[in-house]
C-alpha cells in the first residue's frame, strides 16, 4: 500500500519534471531557430544595366540573400544563375576562357546552364529568369527549365 503510494508519487513527480523541462526547452529551441521570412517566389531585382557588362563577362550580385551571377554571353544575350555551389555553398567563379563556373573550394565545375561538369557537386545550379526592360536587366526566380 505504502509502496504503491510512493510509486504513484514518484511517477507524478517524474511526469511533472518532464513536463516542465519540455516547457522550458521548447521555447529555447524555437528562440535559437532564426525566424523565416517568405522570400517570395517572384521577387525581382535589378542585376545590372545594359551597358554594364561586356560580352563574355560576369557580374555577381545578391539575390534572395544568396550570391547570384549574371553572365553576358559572347552573342550578347544574358544568363542568370545562383552562384551558390550546390556542393557545400561556396560562391562559384566565372571562367571566361572555358565558359563555365568553377567552385574554388572543392573543385566542382558547372556549365552556363548550371549543369554539373565535374563533381563533387551532384545537383545543378538553379537558373533564374532574365528580362530586359529599358536599360535595366531584371532577374527573377520564376520557373525556367535548366
Amino acid at each position: 500500500m505504502a509502496s504503491t503510494r510512493r510509486q504513484f508519487l514518484n511517477r507524478v513527480l517524474a511526469a511533472g519534471v518532464a513536463a516542465i523541462s519540455a516547457y522550458i526547452i521548447y521555447p529555447v529551441l524555437r528562440f535559437l531557430t532564426p525566424p523565416q521570412f517568405a522570400l517570395g517566389e517572384q521577387e525581382t531585382v535589378v542585376a545590372a544595366t545594359t551597358d554594364e557588362l561586356k560580352p563574355n563577362s560576369a557580374k555577381f550580385f545578391k539575390f534572395q540573400d544568396k550570391p547570384a551571377v549574371l553572365v553576358r554571353l559572347p552573342d550578347g544575350s544574358y544568363k542568370a544563375l545562383s552562384a551558390k555551389c550546390t556542393h557545400l555553398g561556396c560562391t562559384v567563379s566565372f571562367e571566361s576562357r572555358k565558359d563555365d563556373f568553377l567552385c574554388e573550394c572543392h573543385g566542382s565545375e558547372f556549365d552556363l546552364n548550371g549543369k554539373v561538369l565535374r563533381g563533387p557537386a551532384a545537383r545543378p545550379l538553379p537558373v533564374y529568369l532574365v528580362s530586359i526592360r529599358g536599360d535595366k536587366i531584371y532577374v527573377s526566380a520564376g520557373k525556367q527549365a535548366a
Partner: protein, 351 residues
C-alpha cells in the same frame, strides 16, 4: 616562503580538515615505464587551454562582432593596441598547438588502450573535449571576418545539409539565417566566447577529476613496471618544466611568425583560387573533394561514433588481453588522416 603563507594556511586549517588532501598528495604516484613520456600531453593540453582563456579574454576587450567592425577591430588589436600583435598571435599559435597536442594525447591514449575499463567515461569525455577544441577552432576562425574564414564557415554550416530531414534545420540553426552573414558572426562569437568555454570548463574538470580518481593508466605491455615517481613534487615539477618549455616555444613562434590578417570578406564575390582550410581540417577537406558529400560526411560521422564507443566495443583489452584489431583500426584512421592531409597539400600546390 613558509612564513609568508603561514598565517593563511593556519586560517584555512582552523576551518577545514586538510588531512585527507595531504594524505592524497603524499600517496599519489605516477607509474614510470618506457611509455611514461606520453603522460605529459594531457597536462600540456590543460596548460594551453588556460593560455587560450587568458589571451581570449584579453582580446574580447577590443573585439566587436559585427560585419562592419569585426575585421577592423581585429586590425585595431594587431596595429594599435599595445602588445596586441603578441596577444592575438599567442591565441593563434596556441590554438594550433592545442589541436596538435590534443591529437597526440588522444592517439597516444588510444594506442596504449588507456580507454579500457574502468576509464571508459574518461575516454568519452576526452573525445568530446577534442571535438570542443575543433569547435573552438571552427567558430574562432570566422571572427576576423576574412574571405578565407567566410568560405570556411560556409562549408562548415552547409555540411549538416546532407542529413535527411533535420539537415536544413541544423544548417539554419548554425548560420542563424539562410546564408552566412551578420547573424552567423554573432552566433559563432557567442559559441566561441560563452557556450564552448563553459562546456570546456565543465568537461575539463570532469576529465581531470577522473584522472585523479583512476590515476594514470598503464599500457598492457608495461604491466610489470617496477618504478613509480611521486606526483608531488616530482611529476608536478616535470609538468611545470614541460609547460615552461611549451611557453618558450610558443613565444618563439609568435615572434618569428606573428599571426596575419588576410583581406576582409566581400560576401558577393566568388571564393578565391587555392582556398583551403587550416592543416587540422585538411583531411576533411580532401575527403569532401574526393568523394560525393553524402557518403563522405556519413562515413566520417560513423567513424567518429565508433571512435567514441571504442572502450565499449573493445572487449579484449577490457579483459587485459591484446586486441590487435583495435590497434589496426587506430592505425588505419591515422594513416587515412595523414594520407588525405598530404594529398590536400600536393593537389592544392599544383593548382
Amino acid at each position: 616562503m613558509k612564513d609568508f603563507f603561514g598565517p593563511f594556511t593556519a586560517f584555512i586549517e582552523e576551518r577545514f580538515d586538510l588531512t585527507p588532501l595531504r594524505r592524497w598528495a603524499r600517496h599519489k604516484k605516477v607509474p614510470q615505464h618506457k611509455h611514461s613520456f606520453w603522460y605529459y600531453f594531457g597536462g600540456l593540453a590543460l596548460f594551453i587551454i588556460s593560455l587560450q582563456f587568458v589571451t581570449g579574454i584579453l582580446m574580447a576587450f577590443y573585439y566587436s562582432p559585427t560585419p562592419d567592425t569585426a575585421h577592423e577591430s581585429v586590425r585595431y588589436i594587431m596595429e594599435k593596441v599595445h602588445y596586441g600583435w603578441l596577444i592575438r598571435s599567442m591565441h593563434f599559435w596556441g590554438a594550433n598547438f592545442l589541436v596538435a597536442v590534443v591529437l597526440v594525447h588522444m592517439f597516444s591514449t588510444y594506442f596504449m588502450k588507456a580507454y579500457r575499463k574502468p576509464r571508459e567515461l574518461m575516454w568519452l569525455i576526452g573525445v568530446l573535449l577534442a571535438g570542443l577544441v575543433l569547435a573552438f577552432a571552427f567558430t574562432g576562425y570566422l571572427l576576423p571576418w576574412t574571405t578565407l574564414s567566410y568560405f570556411a564557415t560556409k562549408v562548415g554550416v552547409n555540411m549538416p545539409m546532407v542529413m535527411p530531414g533535420i539537415g536544413g534545420f541544423l544548417s539554419r540553426l548554425l548560420a542563424g539565417g539562410e546564408d552566412v552573414g551578420a547573424a552567423t558572426l554573432t552566433r559563432m562569437f557567442t559559441l566561441h566566447v560563452v557556450l564552448l568555454p563553459i562546456l570546456t570548463l565543465v568537461l575539463v574538470t570532469a576529465h581531470v577529476f577522473l584522472s585523479q580518481v583512476f590515476g594514470s593508466s598503464v599500457p598492457l605491455s608495461q604491466k610489470g613496471y617496477s618504478e613509480e615517481t611521486r606526483f608531488f613534487p616530482t611529476f608536478v615539477l616535470r609538468d611545470s618544466a614541460v609547460w615552461a618549455g611549451m611557453l618558450a616555444i610558443l613565444i618563439a613562434f609568435v615572434t618569428i611568425f606573428p599571426a596575419n590578417l588576410s583581406s576582409k570578406v566581400n560576401p558577393v564575390m566568388p571564393a578565391p583560387a587555392g582556398i583551403k582550410p587550416e592543416w587540422y581540417f585538411l583531411f576533411l577537406f580532401q575527403t569532401l573533394r574526393t568523394f560525393p558529400e553524402i557518403p563522405a560526411i556519413a562515413a566520417v560521422t560513423i567513424g567518429l561514433i565508433i571512435w567514441m564507443l571504442v572502450p565499449f566495443l573493445d572487449k579484449r583489452s577490457a579483459k587485459g588481453e591484446r586486441s590487435t584489431f583495435f590497434t589496426l583500426f587506430g592505425v588505419a584512421i591515422l594513416v587515412y588522416m595523414i594520407a588525405m592531409t598530404m594529398m590536400a597539400y600536393i593537389t592544392t600546390e599544383v593548382h
